[in-house]
Amino acid sequence: MPAPREYDDIPGTFVFDGRRSRRGYGLNKFLMSLNDPANRDAFRADEAGYLDGFRLDEAQREAVLDRDWLGLLEVGGNVYYTYKLAACDGMTFQDLAGRQTGMSRDEFARMMLAGGRSIDGNRRTGEAAGGKG
């Protein structure tokens, strides 16, 4: 087992370190392939078939096909790579972030307009919550 890291107690955060990079290598290769418009067309035409060209495990395939935006991070996706799939679906970065928090698009946008998510209560897992939103 890899040793714990000093940032592991930051809540709701996936630091893209070597552990996640190794886990997500094939998945992120697929996601980056969407930089090419021909690949985007091929993926849209046959999502499952297109994924066969990459080394994804079953959990990663499901996360892609189900558009499980938070799950994609859990199976090794990096957020910048994941955004390429979201953009392929016509989403903005704010749409993607909102989906990962479980808030609606409007709720998330309103939170940002009100100054964003507070750091209070969000530094460490288990910290007394003072500023959830």
Binding site: V15, D17, N28, L31, L34, C88, Q100, F108
Partner: protein
């Protein structure tokens, strides 16, 4: 001898580029941010640098996970805007400065900074959005650009101190270049933002303002901030702020703060703009 005439810190938010590209900068959402951009643009227009060294990170555009250079320098004659997954930005190609870039490569590597050298690559919003913020929508960019890439996507990025020292080496290299170019160094990215997972949307204005104060007045102190502090206090993507330390290192200890503005929100980010001149 080339002259390093100033430094700029500038966030590189894709939505800011989209607002400029779509002409929506006067919309109620964007107008307050773009009102703050004016003084920085006017400074840039007055200084009229021949070259900008733009310190930025690639976001899975030129580099994937196959090869991950910690520092990389662009040597090409020109760099096309990248397709990042939604078509390239409608901005002019970025014209390089191979003479200065090769001089930087030789100087910095012999100064013990082991750069990766890049002869061909597209450039993404990390580089082109700061150009749009500072120059607007010209038919051609008014200066040449030397791209300097820093990995901040794959943990761990280089330390703040290493970035600051690289900036100091850039100053030495620029000053030993046999040309009369006027050079501005831009550090891009940041400030507080988290784009991912349940904590997405984190903003910490107090952290950011304290960072800017330290960056200006106590850069060695700012350079000592450990990675975990950026991650915890300002969000997982705020670690991009180490790139502002490259810019600060390229300026002398004494600087004049010409302009500072910050704005929240620009999409998910506390946006920062900082202009410094050597004293």
């Amino acid at each position: 001898m080339a002259d390093l005439v100033g430094g700029v810190g500038c966030s590189h938010v894709p939505a800011v580029g989209a607002a400029i590209d779509k002409g929506t900068t006067d919309d109620p959402y964007w107008a307050p941010y773009f009102a703050k951009v004016g003084p920085a643009r006017r400074w840039m227009a007055e200084v009229a640098p021949d070259v900008c060294i733009v310190v930025y990170n690639d976001h899975a555009s030129a580099f994937g996970l196959e090869v991950i250079p910690t520092f990389a320098l662009g040597l090409a004659d020109d760099f096309p805007p990248a397709d990042e997954g939604y078509g390239p930005r409608p901005v002019p190609p970025v014209v390089g400065h191979p003479d200065l870039a090769w001089h930087l490569a030789e100087s910095l590597i012999l100064d013990e900074f082991d750069l990766t050298l890049v002869n061909e690559m597209p450039v993404d919003h990390g580089l082109t959005v700061p150009l749009s913020v500072m120059f607007g929508t010209p038919e051609a960019w008014p200066c040449r650009v030397v791209p300097l890439l820093v990995n901040v996507v794959q943990y761990p990025p280089p330390t703040g101190r290493r970035c600051y020292r690289l900036g100091q080496a850039i100053r030495r290299a620029v000053e030993s270049f046999e040309g009369d170019e006027r050079v501005v160094v831009m550090g891009t990215g940041g400030m507080s933002h988290q784009l991912q997972a349940q904590r997405a949307g984190l903003i910490n204005v107090d952290f950011d303002l304290a960072f800017l104060d330290r960056l200006v007045a106590d850069p060695e102190g700012a350079a000592a901030i450990p990675h975990v502090e950026y991650l915890r206090e300002a969000g997982s993507e705020a670690i991009e702020l180490v790139m502002w330390l490259v810019m600060r290192g390229a300026l002398p200890a004494g600087v004049r703060e010409v302009y500072r503005a910050t704005h929240v929100p620009t999409s998910n980010t506390h946006n920062g703009l900082l202009v410094l001149e050597p004293t």
